[in-house]
Symmetry: C2
Subunit: 226 residues, 2 copies
């Protein structure tokens, strides 16, 4: 499957690498490919500089947001949640039309320090904002409830015995995403319903952040025990 991963933080490269390893045809989309591949400062969460990551994964092309989206069957939004709408606008509505748009971002607002606030909440979500802004895209919210290493290697935590949620309006798009999640190793995939249910999946972030603080590690995930 041709997959465009938009975003070059911690999550984007992790997903790109994992999907490439599964045999998909993966590109990374970024605002300025030349500047991105030249980046030698460590990632925001202490990961490898993008230049070093790219040298080790040169098979994965780094292209503009628009070029990435244009050539893809599935577009993954792994951009910073606070600027996802802007990044997707740059990618181009015409390049997202009809595509499965897997949204893994969280609308975290760090302007008042740590822990960040979540915005919007309750009556809206980033997932819905994206669906509203790009009505021809088939948005599926997923994976936003765990850290990048668990997204791509669920077995690394509790033998993979935990849950992932999907929200979206398009049944076929959800089936495509469900398939990708299974390929990544996720076994308990809970369909919450339409894209408005992304409100729930996003609003777990404030708890995620505090559990992370309590445990001292992001290597955990929520399981819906039942």
């Amino acid at each position: 499957m041709k997959i465009a991963v938009l975003g070059t933080g911690t999550v984007g490269p992790a997903l790109a690498e994992a999907l490439d390893a599964l045999g998909h045809d993966v590109v990374i989309g970024t605002r300025d490919p030349r500047a991105t591949v030249a980046r030698t400062e460590p990632g925001a969460t202490g990961g490898a500089p993008f230049a070093a990551w790219h040298a080790a994964h040169s098979r994965i092309d780094v292209v503009t947001l628009a070029d990435a989206a244009a050539g893809a069957d599935v577009v993954v939004n792994a951009t910073n949640g606070a600027s996802s709408l802007e990044a997707l606008t740059t990618a181009g509505a015409e390049n997202l039309s009809g595509k499965v748009l897997m949204d893994v971002a969280n609308p975290l607002d760090f302007s008042q320090g740590f822990p960040p606030s979540l915005n919007p909440v309750n009556t809206d979500s980033l997932g819905e904002q994206i669906q509203h802004a790009f009505p021809e895209a088939r948005v599926v919210k997923t994976l936003n409830t765990m850290t990048a290493s668990v997204m791509v290697d669920p077995a690394s935590v509790a033998g993979g015995e935990h849950s992932v949620f999907i929200s979206g309006n398009d049944a076929d798009a959800k089936e495509t995403v469900r398939g990708l999640l299974r390929e990544l190793g996720h076994r308990d995939i809970i369909d919450l319903g339409d894209i408005s249910t992304a409100r729930g999946a996003e609003m777990i972030l404030p708890l995620w952040l505090r559990v992370w603080g309590a445990l001292g590690t992001g290597a955990f995930n929520f399981k819906v025990a039942r």
Copy 2:
């Protein structure tokens, strides 16, 4: 231990019954005891009318909010989250002073229909509002992340393999609550930190509500898999 359970919805009687069965000296506090024990309409979630419940549990006295709190070592706030501050004010700050105040309520706003919104969010929580309004009480937020039947019988779901959170400023109060949770059968008790971390525990409710919708049952709980 002398325990006052404030609230006569689904949660209050369930907790009162379970704590009584464990040998604690339990009373239920309500605004108007005479009206409460006369209630013959079914509970909001389809449970037994309070009159029938009380007939079967006559050992548990039903008294005013103030009388209940005055005689207790531990006060459980199981009132409707939207009116908890008012109920606790009626119970009386002087009757809460120095007490462990176990807050299990959620500030859900049903005024716009279902699913309810959560208010406050992000920068405040009901747990903090209660601690702020009653600075001499020792508030511990807990149990608000699961349905009443799971609060009192964790083994009823996945053999008890799931998590409960505690948030509070007073280490001794948290130890008291931890002890009560263990007596109820909870094994994975995660201390999130001070009372401000109740923001996280409360903000899981929008996801809880949607998982409930997806599964068609409240008989589940979140486990922090790690």
